[in-house]
Amino acid sequence: MIGLLEVAAPSIILIISALLTLPAVNLIRRRYNQRFSILLMWILTPFILVGASIISLAIKYHGQSSLSPFLRIFLVSDDLSHISSSFLVDAVSIYMVIVYFIVGLISCIYAVFYIGFDDLSERYFALMFMVLGGVMAATFSGDLLTLFIFWEVSAAGSCFLIIYWKKPESIEACLKYLVMIIIASAFIVYGLSIIYGLVGSLNFWTVRAALASLTDKSLLIVAFLFVVCGYAIESAVVPFHMWLPDAYTAAPSSTSAFLSAVVDQASYYVFMRVLVYILTPPDILNWPFTLAVFSALTMTVGNLFALAQRDVKRMISYVCVADIGYNLIAITSVKPIGVMGNLFFFFVGGMTTALAFMVIGIINSLGLKSLDDLSGIGKIFPMTGFALVVASLSFSGIPTLAGFMAKYMVFTAAIAADMAWLAVIGILNSLLQTAYLVRLIHYMYAKKVKKRLGGREPKNLLLPVYLLVASILILGVYPSIVLEMIYPAAQQLTLLLSS
């Protein structure tokens, strides 16, 4: 039987190591002469522990033969359990935690080399652990309020990661981000309070059961409206998206990579979890069409704005915006294939955006920012250029790269849900996406070099980059590795919808 401690173990380990990181990094800085290898070892140690705990949890979960695949772990297991804090373990949450682990690990390695021994770097790494721990706890939480509070941990933590270098624009971006987050959390709290008024509890299953038997839906609509708006702001659905390009552009690239890989994907997950799993199946409140409209809007606006950008980092930020549009397609389908597409897209989208941001971090560190600056980069820095090419081709869904399979699943999900128009918009959008990404490649390889570039490709930064490149290539050819993990998770949705 899986206990409370086992579920919380990854987060606990991460939070404790976050606290230990402060003295440890200081020590490495003073005693060991700023040795990167020791720093890297220190960062990897908690990851090994977390990995072990996640693996043992996954083995235990998949090995058990209990009645329900949805494992509810209550803090108090008497008749008051439904109002106590609780955790929820199912195949989806375990999969997501594995995803955060892998992508988070790679972006942390990148951050070690990218941030290095700055004068506050111990706090940077500690906050990274904190955010990761918060995200993992939020993923496992089985109660709307617990989910909300743990989610705020990561949201608040990411604001410090964004502002880290304290350039003027990052202060501004961080302020905007934070204010939007507060509005979002206020909206969510408002929605939750109405749900509390309707149900008397915030536990996932209690809420679900109670809302299903609700006769009058006007209050539910209001609650839904506020909760969805709140989470839409956090996951940057158009037109709630405006903070995202600012924040990701102004943040250090390691932060952008980390946030787009972990926090962004987690926000989509929360969106999916709250909508599909808890807040009413579509036959109670007909939300899929509404969200489909938003999905189309998000894709189109994200891609159009990306097309118009001159700054590469901002362009990739808008790709992140477009990504949530593709994710929303799958969410709105409310079909197992949609959930599969979603879960696959979380992984692949996270990896690809992280890859793009990492490469842009390398390019930025050479003093290049705009599309014009990138002219001829591909020839001078072949390794960096190739990685960016892989990222762009994966974004635009070229087969044998992971992005193709992800998009394919998402579009089939839309068709399976009788929303062929959405799939058509999606496909047209990927044409648009190809246009600007090919333009990026064009600049990298076709144009003449603008300025004389000193410096060489930083080899250590390329290590995490190529880890990601390899996994994108492998997943493109052989997606079954991940799909085998996803499949049971997606099948649970049918259990859920039938009950």
Binding site: V179, I233, P239, F240, L285, W287, P399, I427, L483
Partner: protein, 644 residues
């Protein structure tokens, strides 16, 4: 045969995976790499040849393994005469071109990349034709597009080449999107991608839906095959090395669309609209392509536009075949094979010329006959074969196309095809006169021209042999494809095919007069009588111009959207909507004849005019974020209320 269980898989997996090891082989040495590459090509040909016996006389075999079990995505091969035919063509021409490149590309940089893409292309092209489901077809469809992009911009230091690569990639991508939509729509109705299911169950789909699907897939095919109206990419693709042009843009890749039409003919021939459209697109393209070839002064433009035109012939033939496996279907495929031979040969011969002269401008050539006798003979074969003069293969195939078109009884189609045939001879003849006959140009006198290297001549000679003898194999070929109609040898010598030969004289005489005898002055002709025509042709019927405008408009729209959403709508519209509308109206009234570009300028001006105000109420300000969020909230609310 011993290869039988493996060859259906190895025939495409071998080149695909071998491509990955090309860099490794290059590390060993350039000799080793050459041997490696040719060896792979050879084995691919052996494998594909071993497939012929399995499918003779119309048998078909389907094999599959499960690729992604959870999504029911299968990886399979469908061996039937059609796919094996295409696979053989690809591997054969592929091998010839690989051998040719050994000599042609010998002194280039970046050969690792070149051979990588070539092998990848051969593998994915065979994968495309041999796939047993539409999804797999689409994957390879994209991959050959990617290879095309990589090979067209092979000389990445030349900006034109890279620009052309992007143009090719994006334009074909438009077709890919249509194809993907069609495939997904099909999936939405049948819940399966496999051809088997499609052929057996297409009756279940409602006719309007099937029509939409057929049109989408037709659009995908014609873009890949460079048919009107999106044919312009093929000429841009000529920036590639000539060997690449031969393989991808002459003999094989552009046949992807032909393959898809031939493959789905059985399903879609029940739709009259699809048939008519196919026939018309084919015939019009055949005509337009031929006229474009007549005008070009680029030596590679001739086979490029010729390819466009000849594929038009094939597609017109498919459109003329009203039932599956009718005469037109066979004629189209027959012509496809003979076209692969003569167009491949045409490109290789031209490659030899470019290799020797270093220029692509035909106006600077002339009198090459004495210096390059072998190439001259090869070119003669190309021209005779392309024009459809007996006994070359194209005579038989074009004759069949003509008879199948005549059987439809549509007079305008027949006229188009006949005039296209006439012009075909005209431009081929013109090409011959300009390059080989006549006096040497001043450009050529400056250096001594040699015959092309032996290896290049041999590989081109193989194709020439194909041109000559293939025509006599029409009966076994027909039996191989399993076409069931009564064969009548007089078909080849009936009125229709002889009419073709007759039309050649019509096309040949003016060229003879203008270019060889020079009794008609070309400049005079152009400037006086054919001014309009000349303008049209020189600009390629303005297709590229139009696409440029469309693309520009799109970019303008996107920047307009950006400026209008970020700067206009969200901040200014609520505040100064009246003011702005007035200003815009005044501007528009003042400049009544403004084009789209002008309008964008105006908006930019107006924005600059208001710059001072805008600075106070920037976009990117926090209140706008809140405002946008509030609007989103409202939209969400309205939609929810409407749908609940």
């Amino acid at each position: 045969m011993i290869l039988e269980p493996y060859s259906p898989w190895l025939v495409w997996l071998l080149p695909l995976f071998s491509s990955i090891f090309v860099p490794l082989a290059s590390k060993v040495g350039s000799k080793f790499r050459d041997i490696y590459v040719v060896g792979v090509g050879m084995f691919t040909l052996i494998f594909s040849a071993s497939l012929i016996s399995m499918v003779y006389s119309g048998r078909s075999v389907s094999l599959k393994v499960i690729w992604v079990p959870r999504l029911n995505i299968e990886l399979g091969v469908l061996l039937d005469p059609l796919s094996v035919l295409f696979a053989n063509i690809v591997s054969f021409i592929g091998l010839v071109v690989l051998v040719y490149s050994l000599s042609y590309m010998a002194h280039e940089e970046g050969l690792t990349r070149y051979y990588f893409f070539m092998l990848l292309f051969i593998g994915s092209m065979i994968g495309l034709v041999i796939a047993n489901n539409l999804l797999q077809l689409f994957i390879f469809w994209e991959l050959v597009g990617l290879c095309s992009y990589g090979l067209v911009s092979f000389w990445h230091k030349r900006p034109e080449a890279v620009k052309a690569g992007i143009k090719v990639f994006l334009m074909t991508k438009i077709g890919d999107v249509a194809l993907l939509m069609g495939i997904l729509l099909l999936y939405a109705n049948l819940y399966s991608f496999s051809y088997e299911q499609l052929f057996n169950r297409y009756g279940e789909i409602a006719v309007p839906t099937l029509t939409v699907i057929s049109l989408l897939m037709l659009f995908g095919s014609i873009v890949k095959s460079a048919q009107l109206p999106l044919h312009t990419w093929l000429y841009s693709a000529m920036e590639a090395p000539t060997s690449v042009s031969c393989l991808l843009h002459g003999a094989t890749m552009v046949k992807g669309g032909v393959y898809l039409i031939a493959r789905t003919h059985m399903v879609f021939s029940s739709i009259p609209l699809w048939l008519d459209l196919t026939a018309w697109i084919g015939a019009v393209t055949a005509f337009v392509g031929a006229t474009l070839a007549l005008q070009t002064s680029d030596i590679k433009g001739v086979p490029a536009y010729s390819t466009i035109s000849q594929i038009g012939f094939m597609i017109a033939a498919f459109g003329a075949a009203s039932s599956p496996k009718a005469l037109g279907w066979f004629a189209g495929l027959f012509h496809m094979v003979s076209h692969a031979f003569f167009q491949g040969l045409g490109f290789l011969a031209i490659g030899s010329i470019i290799h020797q002269l270093g220029t692509r401008d035909m106006k600077r050539m002339g009198g090459l006959r004495s210096n390059m006798p072998i190439t001259f003979i090869l070119s003669i074969i190309v021209i005779l074969s392309r024009s459809g003069i007996p006994p070359f293969s194209s005579f038989f195939s074009k004759g069949l196309i003509a008879s199948s078109l005549v059987s439809t009884g549509n007079l305008s189609l027949i006229l188009l095809i006949y005039s296209a045939a006439a012009i075909t001879f005209a431009y081929s003849y013109r090409f011959l006169v300009l390059t080989f006959l006549g006096e040497k140009s001043s450009y050529l006198r400056r250096f001594k021209v040699h015959e092309a290297p032996l290896l290049m001549c041999i590989s081109a000679g193989v194709l020439a042999a194909g041109c000559i003898i293939f025509g006599f194999f029409s009966v076994p070929f027909m039996r191989f494809l399993g076409v069931e109609f009564k064969f009548d040898p007089s078909l080849f010598f009936g009125f229709e095919s002889l009419g073709f030969v007759g039309s050649l004289i019509v096309g040949g005489i003016p060229i003879y007069l203008t270019y060889q005898r020079r009794s008609i002055r070309i400049e005079e002709l152009k400037s006086k009588y054919l001014l309009f025509m000349n303008d049209m042709l020189r600009n390629g019927y303005y297709f590229d111009w139009i696409y440029g405008r469309v693309a520009n408009g799109f970019f303008n729209l996107s920047s307009l959207l950006r400026s209008s959403i970020e700067i206009k709508v969200l901040e200014r519209l609520p505040y100064v909507v009246a003011d702005n509308a007035m200003r815009l109206a005044r501007f528009t009234l003042l400049n009544f004849d403004v084009t789209l570009t002008r309008l964008t300028h105006l908006i930019a001006e107006a924005t600059a005019y208001h710059g001072l105000k805008i600075r106070r109420i920037h976009s990117g300000a926090l209140p706008h974020f809140v405002l946008a969020a509030a609007l989103g909230f409202l939209l969400l609310f309205i939609l929810l209320i409407l749908t609940t």
